[in-house]
Amino acid sequence: MWFIGIVCIFFMAAGPIAQAEQYPDKPITLLTVFPPGGGSDVSHRTIEKYTKGIFDKPLVIVYKAGAGGELGWTELVGSKPDGYIIGGVDIPHIILQPMVREKGQTGFKTEELLPICGLVIDPDLIIVHKDSKWKNLKEFMDDSRANPGQITAGTVGKFTGDHMFLMRFEFATGLKFTQVPYSGGGKAIPALMGKQVDCYFASANSYLRMEDVRALGVATEQRYELAPDVPTLKEQGVDVISIKRRGLAAPLNTPKDRIKYLENAIKKINDIPEYQVDVKKVGLTPHFMSSDEFGKYIENETKNARETLTKFGFFK
């Protein structure tokens, strides 16, 4: 029965043990709200790799996937705020989900997540197939102006970061596309590579692992370090800035000093050069944000997202 033992250790590492003076005196659970193997998992595992010597106790990754992360985040905000459970959060997911949730449906609220720190950024960009007739953003926009709604745009689902990016782009340019919401990158990526859709409003992370595709523009202020050949949308005359950001958060009433401990520990990991190399290798850019900065960022994005959704008539 040893294997049951192992399984139990993994799942019960965060059991209710009396709190001692020293924090942390037992392993800290890191809740990953997407399935193993996804982008969230990879960035958490990369942190886990470097916890030795920085965290006094190990970090235990526990998966709680479902409903685009909503299940996991709801579990996180309902957990005991003792600093022994933290979770990965994605912007704009944690902002959009409570915003568009139907009446009567239970679930977490954005304010119930206490920001610990920002970890990585992943800018949005527009991708077409290598064989596509659109060689640049101008041709793409001219054609979509001539054929409104006839160009299909893949995303990783309704009310995701990709959808947000699509809406921002549509609003800034006045163009109209037909969104094809695939269930995750695992389906959206092959859809573009197989020319099932005309373009893909994607994350740079997806773009960096694809072959035979062309990026028309990236939604950042300056060119993106990991894809320096891709022109920004801004330099092509479209003022759209849209990125995804990943960070960590804890349940709302977690003690301040514990948040501080976690924030500092992650800061130390973020400063390790090998960590930086590893994160870039998986197609993300490390970008540390303190608890306060991250909190302000979330606030700002919330306002921004509400504006965009209002413009598109999602709130009556």
Binding site: F3, I4, I6, V7, F10, F11, P35, P36, G37, G38, D41, V42, R45, T46, E48, K49, I61, Y63, K64, A65, G66, A67, G68, E70, L71, V100, E102, G104, Q105, T106, G107, G149, Q150, I151, T152, K158, F159, T178, Q179, V180, P181, Y182, S183, G186, I189, P190, A191, M193, G194, K195, Q196, V197, L208, R209, M210, E211, D278, K281, V282, G283
Partner: protein, 509 residues
């Protein structure tokens, strides 16, 4: 691809490598053998332990877990009618029937041998055909997904020959239940009654565990339970006769492998569907389709060869395009990235040695698992000697632990329990649980394929053309029609036979 064959051989001859693969294989077998504990979970559990290993070793260890889990799934399916993984559902049909006839050992060896064949064929495809197959998988869009799901739905007819109406009712129940939760396309919640747990949908694995394990436990408790579990009668010299059986049935075996590979490379379709198709095709080409479900060797070979061929198949898009073809392959892709390897074509050119060693290693892993499988078979067969009351208790306990372990959600345990109670009545009243399981598996695939096709089709001007004029769609539609015609034909034949038998009985009376 540039690689050094000596590097690969030297690497694989290292005892540490072999030990790693053996450990991974055994761990995977155990994970597969416990309902609910899957290869996906096994890989995720071992991942942190690979940080200290070099990437090749880490990959081999984790891939061995994946291979092992596909072997392990067959053990409880055959011995106690409880599929250890979703891909082992079809194994229960004939495997358990064989066990009831006292042929548990034959069934277990047979499953191990064809699993080896399946694993080998899968890896051969991975080595020699990965690039053309990867490009083929890209042709598979939303309408193809829809038609594949429709084609797979016709399998219900042959799963319930002689009782098609009840089969249909079961399947529709499964399909309906699969619509609970978030709409895959619009993101709106349906039938969740405000419960967040349900907005993630009814978990397919929990549903299947409940559907199969709970009724089995109840049946074992009943008066007629005595016949439910086979006898334990260990014999020697079963292995080689079983090898011969496989050789005699090479057509079925190969066909199942090919189906496993093709469905395995489709993004997001999954192994559960493939084994159903393989089982159905085996039944169709069989000369004795009436033996299926009653202990046919063909009926056991098909799903088992198929679910191991999927391993190779699902690694093809992962290694070439960076897109995992199945849930365990997705975890493997995460592992690749954590070890600093970006899945995709570049992997072949930049890390040819690692990829090549990994592929050759998969052969060896399969061999190791089969070699070590012999003591496993002896050990697991002893389950049949366990007194029934203990067996029932442990089946129920495994069901609860397993369904909770899928995603650490208590709602899944509730789903498992309710599905179990429903399953018991479905079996009692002759509906069977397989059609409901298939309906559940296919529900989301059908719906998503249909809705996305509608969206793309209407943007492109013609929904009809989009659904009916694509080459792969046409092939799938033709297959669907043929499958239906065949199903009605055999239904009629089965009915006629029944009438004949009845009239013969009347005469002899």
């Amino acid at each position: 691809m540039n690689f050094d064959i000596w590097y690969a051989l030297k690497y694989l001859a290292n005892p540490a490598t072999l030990l790693c693969m053996a450990f991974g294989g055994m761990f995977g077998t155990l994970m597969g053998a416990i309902p609910g504990l899957t290869g996906t979970l096994g890989i995720a559990l071992l991942l942190p332990f690979t940080f200290g290993l070099d990437p090749t070793m880490a990959l081999l260890l984790l891939a061995s877990v994946y291979c092992g889990s596909e072997y392990g799934g067959a053990y409880p399916a055959i011995l106690i009618n409880t599929p250890g993984t979703g891909a082992a559902v079809c194994t229960t049909f004939d495997g358990y029937a064989l066990a009831q006839q006292g042929k548990a050992q034959e069934a277990l060896y047979l499953s191990n041998i064809v699993s080896l064949v399946g694993g080998f064929v899968g890896v051969i495809a991975l080595i020699f055909l990965s690039i053309p197959l990867a490009y083929f998988s890209l042709k598979f869009g939303a309408p193809e997904q829809f038609w594949l799901a429709v084609f797979s739905l016709t399998i219900i007819a042959s799963l319930s020959t002689g009782n098609m109406l009840k089969g249909l009712i079961g399947a529709i129940l499964g399909l309906l239940l699969s619509t609970v939760g978030m709409d895959p396309v619009t993101g709106h919640n349906r039938f969740t009654f405000g419960s967040l747990g349900l907005s993630g949908g009814i978990n397919v694995v929990a549903f299947i565990i409940g559907l199969f394990t709970i009724p089995q436990a109840f049946l074992l408790l009943g008066k007629e339970g005595g016949e439910s579990v086979g006898e334990y009668n260990p014999r020697k010299g079963v292995f080689f006769p079983m090898c011969k059986e496989v050789l005699r049935r090479w057509v079925v075996t190969l066909e199942a492998c090919v189906i496993g590979i093709i469905v395995g490379i489709m993004p997001g379709v999954g192994g559960n569907v493939a084994t159903f198709i393989a089982y159905n095709e085996a039944k169709r080409i069989s000369k004795k389709p009436e033996e299926f479900g009653k202990g046919s060797y063909d009926g056991l070979i098909a799903p088992e060869a198929c679910n191991n061929a999927i391993v190779g198949g699902s690694l093809i898009p992962l290694l070439t395009l960076g897109i995992p073809g199945s849930a365990p392959a997705a975890v493997l892709s995460g592992a690749l990235m954590i070890h600093g390897l970006q899945p995709g074509f570049k992997l072949f050119s930049e890390n040819g040695n690692i990829v090549f060693t990994f592929m050759i290693g998969l052969f060896i892993t399969n061999l190791i698992i089969v070699l070590l499988g012999t003591p496993f078979i002896r050990g697991f067969s002893k389950v049949l000697m366990v007194p029934r009351k203990f067996l029932v208790a442990s089946i129920l306990a495994m069901g609860v632990v397993g369904s909770y372990a899928i995603r650490n959600a208590s709602i899944d345990v509730v789903v498992m329990g309710l599905a179990g109670i429903a399953g018991y009545f479905m079996i009692r009243f002759g509906y069977g649980v397989a059609p409901a399981a298939l309906g559940m598996i296919l529900g989301e695939l059908t719906e998503e394929g249909f809705k996305l096709s509608l969206i793309i089709g209407s943007a492109k001007g013609s929904v009809w053309a989009y659904f009916f004029a694509r080459p792969i769609c046409i092939v799938l539609i033709v297959l669907t029609v043929l499958s239906l015609v065949f199903a009605f034909y055999s239904e009629m034949r089965a009915k006629k036979k029944k009438q004949n038998r009845n009239s013969v009985e009347e005469v002899s009376r």
